[in-house]
């Protein structure tokens, strides 16, 4: 058994010859909050796709708590304890926030247990607590399609927590949020980091500075460009060239 919660070795994913991930190596300690940044198309989402079983690696392997994830399907990986939030919020629009949370929080996900099991007595409280945490208590019982974008983002984070995974993969949680909402989500993630391992992918540098207390990883063209504390990474000339330098030049 290795002590690492996540270990990626020599990972390559190619789509018809185009290498979205190229010999990527990555590892993470339990309890860590890791932020991954990188320009558009760097392969960040693809990286999560491999971990969650949506995409199979062409070469290389991904291990979670020492277990190879290859050949496991999405739901099996989820049950191992990996939860994922998608880049664009993906919640069940016709269900209410309460139902969304209870669907992901359900402990027994087989067909017959879903049909026949009684709701565990604690579930009601857990879900009310979660609704409170993500600030959706007043809208708990209206269809989720009526929520604002920010509320949807928060609901999806709530769904993730409801699964009580060991590792949370969070893809761009603050895209399209106001400054205040961004800060709320940041605080939420910091609270969650006390009891979970988390990977956050983000573009918003202000936000990254808020939450990146530990290591930051920079992806570029499918590989790790560099890794280190936010301050060091920000000042690394290679990073400035491929990523941070881009923003001002695009503004002009």
């Amino acid at each position: 058994m290795s002590a690492k919660i996540l270990e990626i070795e020599d990972l390559t994913v190619s789509f018809d010859g185009f290498k979205a991930l190229n010999q990527l190596n990555f590892s993470m300690e339990p309890g860590e909050l890791r932020v991954i940044i990188g320009p558009n198309g760097a392969g960040k989402t693809t990286f999560l796709d491999v971990i969650t079983g949506k995409v199979q690696p062409t070469i290389g392997s991904a291990r979670f708590k020492g277990k190879n994830l290859k050949a496991l399907s999405e739901h099996q990986i989820c049950r191992l304890g990996i939860g994922r939030k998608f880049q664009t919020p993906r919640i069940f629009l016709k269900l209410t926030p309460r139902e969304n949370l209870s669907l992901s929080g359900n402990r027994y996900k087989g067909v017959f247990s879903t049909l026949l099991n009684k709701r565990p007595t604690g579930e009601q409280q857990t879900i009310s607590g979660l609704l409170e945490t993500v600030g959706l208590t007043p809208k708990a019982d209206i269809p989720a399609e009526l929520l604002s974008h920010g509320e949807k983002q928060r609901l999806e984070i709530g769904m993730l927590v409801a699964q009580s995974p060991d590792l949370l993969l969070v893809d761009e949680p603050v895209a399209g949020l106001t400054d205040e909402e961004t800060e709320n989500v940041g605080n939420l993630l910091l609270t969650l980091a006390e009891s979970h391992s988390i990977i956050v992918i983000e573009h918003d540098m202000e936000f990254v500075r808020q939450i990146a207390r530990q290591q930051v990883t920079v992806l570029h063209q499918g590989s790790v460009l560099c890794e280190g504390k936010m301050n060091d990474v920000q000042n690394d000339p290679r990073v400035i060239e491929v990523y941070l330098g881009e923003a001002p030049s695009m503004d002009e």
């Binding site: 969650t52 739901h75 069940f92 629009l93 269900l95 669907l103 049909l115 009526l146």
Partner: protein, 386 residues
């Protein structure tokens, strides 16, 4: 005020619904035949019985399509299998040593092996449900496990339908081919199936099975499983990432809906004088979907109403306008699908909300700010705008 009433209904929804279902069932059981007979339209009682059987398939289609989002265009297969299972049993109600008449016509001397278990009444009843369920479960498992979805699934169901159609059509020596199995002149418990007494019992059975099918569907679509089906319909891959394997759920629902089709087929066959491969026409399977679309997808009451209304309009139109009724019917479908995309029941639901909204709209200036921000009110306003 409104809220208080709403609260009360929400507290005891099961009771209210139960009373409603029983009341409607009693009406169909006793009032409908009496009224139709008094109007001199006695033949319509049998017609209604058949349409009630069709409403059972419609429930099955609604489960698999309306709730789970899987469009089956091959339910005629399960319907027909159910019909044959019962008809084979009826055909065997003969004096010792005699074979159903068509066998002698084709020179068959001995009963084919697969006919033999149909001597047993319990076996035949079980077969009307479980043969369709098994075939659906097998087909569904192979297809869903390989993540075949959408149009590809629909095409596959049609292909299965065509395979079975051709098989049944061509096997004169096994199951009388195109002619199918006539049940009118067969006997059950020593009475002709076509007799008034048996037909009356079949009518009652249709009502009873429709209610049972409704209760089953209601149970499946409420609670956790129902919400999961909706989740699968709206975003199947997200369901996987939440830790569920959709395959089992889809197989279950597909099999249940096939079982319902089987029961419906048996009841329909016995009330319409027999069964033949004609019910495996592609058009008939598509019609089943149309009933649900007209009545209202993802509404169980809608599916039942759709099946009964469409079939009644079909027969009344064909009697009144033998030349052009098909155009009328086509027009009806087009109108409903374009003007009422959620079917009749869907339309009624939004109309209901509309009325509440216009009430609220008139009073909006008088409401307190807290009410104006109430998500329920907001929800209704939003819906009004659409």
């Amino acid at each position: 005020m409104l809220r208080a009433i709403k609260g009360q209904i929400q507290k005891r929804p099961r009771l209210f619904e139960g009373i409603g279902v029983v009341a409607i069932a009693l009406l169909i059981l006793f009032a409908a035949p009496a009224i139709l007979t008094a109007m001199g339209q006695e033949f319509r009682v049998n017609m209604l019985g058949r349409f009630l059987a069709l409403a059972i398939v419609a429930l099955g289609i609604d489960l698999i399509w309306g709730y789970t989002g899987i469009l089956s265009l091959g339910h005629g297969l399960f319907f027909t299998l159910g019909g044959y299972a019962l008809a084979m049993h009826l055909k065997l109600q003969l004096p010792e040593g005699e074979l159903p008449e068509f066998f002698t016509l084709y020179g068959v001397k001995e009963l084919p092996w697969f006919w033999k278990p149909f001597h047993s009444f319990p076996f035949s009843l079980a077969a009307t449900i479980f043969v369709p369920m098994l075939i659906a479960a097998l087909l569904g498992y192979l297809v869903f496990r390989n993540r075949i979805r959408g149009v590809y699934f629909s095409i596959l169901t049609q292909a299965a339908l065509i395979v079975f159609f051709n098989f049944f059509n061509s096997q004169q020596k096994l199951i009388n081919g195109t002619n199918g199995l006539k049940t009118d002149t067969a006997k059950i418990f020593d009475v002709y199936v076509g007799s008034d007494d048996v037909q009356r019992i079949l009518y009652i059975l249709s009502v009873v099975f429709l209610i049972l099918a409704y209760c089953l569907s209601r149970w499946l679509t409420s609670g956790r499983l129902g919400r999961l089906l909706i989740a699968i319909r709206d975003d199947e891959s997200r369901v996987r990432f939440s830790g569920y394997d959709p395959t089992g759920f889809k197989v279950l629902v597909f099999a249940v809906s096939a079982g319902l089709a089987g029961i419906a087929g048996a009841l329909y066959a016995a009330q319409s004088g027999g069964i033949s491969p004609k019910t495996m026409d592609i058009a008939f399977s598509i019609e089943m979907v149309i009933w649900v679309a007209v009545g209202g997808r993802a509404s169980l009451v809608g599916a039942i109403l759709g099946a009964i209304l469409v079939n009644f309009s079909k027969s009344i139109l064909s009697e009144q306008f033998p030349q052009v009724w098909l155009f009328f019917l086509g027009g009806l479908f087009l109108t409903v699908v374009t003007v009422l995309p959620d079917g009749f029941v869907g339309w009624l639901r939004t109309q209901g909300v509309d009325q509440v909204r216009s009430l609220l709209g008139r009073r909006r200036l008088l409401t307190y700010p807290s009410l104006a921000e109430d998500p329920e009110v907001e929800y209704e306003r939003q819906n009004l705008r659409n």
